[in-house]
Symmetry: C2
Subunit: 181 residues, 2 copies
């Protein structure tokens, strides 16, 4: 087992170096019941010492809405990144009362081809969930989801060489224009 691990680790490092995979990044997504994401951001800054790096908001949908909803607020917790969203759709199932379920997700961001990463994961036993679409948070990036053999769902974010017809992207593009602040 020890030998196998060393071999795996060595091969993986060599592959990573060959691919120039220097930008692998894991982002924790916290989906908060809209419109409380802004309050959540303030809580994480004040209580846990998180630092806000950047944010993107949804356009205002109603004239009487006091503030735009958060598509994504990126917070830094030490060396780690957390993205806080206002949950508009059923991206994450709401926790049941008394349940320990959380509205958490994991985004794995790299410069790799998103289809290639998904194919590699599927070959290793993961199941692709839905297709690949444009990322509404990171312009120019594309994403897809896989459920790994251990039940964890990962959002894979990366590059793509494919072009997508507009109708294929509907699910991933929010209504209206995204305002990047």
């Amino acid at each position: 087992m020890a030998d196998q691990e060393v071999q795996n680790g060595g091969a993986e490092k060599a592959t990573a170096e060959a691919k120039g995979k220097t930008t692998l990044d894991l982002i924790v997504e916290l989906a908060v019941e809209a419109p409380k994401a802004e309050d959540a951001v303030q809580f994480y800054k004040a209580v846990f010492g998180a630092v806000e790096i950047e944010r993107a908001t949804y356009p205002k949908r109603k004239a009487d809405q006091e503030r735009p909803l958060l598509l994504s607020a990126l917070l830094q917790f030490g060396g780690n990144k957390v993205m806080v969203n206002d949950r508009l759709e059923d991206d994450f199932k709401a926790p049941e009362p008394g349940s320990k379920h959380q509205n958490l997700g994991l985004r794995l961001v790299s410069e790799q081809d998103v289809e290639a990463v998904i194919e590699k994961a599927v070959a290793a036993g993961a199941v692709a969930e839905g297709g690949v679409a444009e990322d509404r948070v990171l312009p120019g990036k594309h994403l897809g989801k896989v459920r790994d053999p251990f039940g964890i769902v990962w959002t894979i974010v990366g590059n793509t060489t494919k072009t997508f017809a507009a109708e294929n992207d509907t699910a991933a593009v929010p209504e209206g224009r995204i305002l990047l602040l």
Copy 2:
């Protein structure tokens, strides 16, 4: 709002500097149905390019058990840390079929006093879940849980000035001796 954010950010940074809070660390916990955590670690290394930093195992419980269960395997995903565990107890509820629920947790590790962080969170609207106990993964550290006002449960890991009677720690200490490899 912009002014408020700048003020909050400034005040928080000053506080962080005053406290020497340089070790804030966020660790994502992935709870895997035992005994598959080892397979999960190999999957994350081979497919996602994660690098294993360290591991701790439970002692073998059965003579016929081929390998010890993973109490904690710490993986590095880029600059981020992920801890993979064999789930023995009902720490995390198993996902229901077809549900998007995940066995994810967040550990916030710092050099701060764990009771102080929990009190601060509770004062800001969080609810403490259970008491403070010794951390079975990080020797010398203590931990407690809070559910924030937005439904996210955080495991707060830090220091403590209190001494705990052995009977108070039962829930957090696995059976047998912990082997740190």
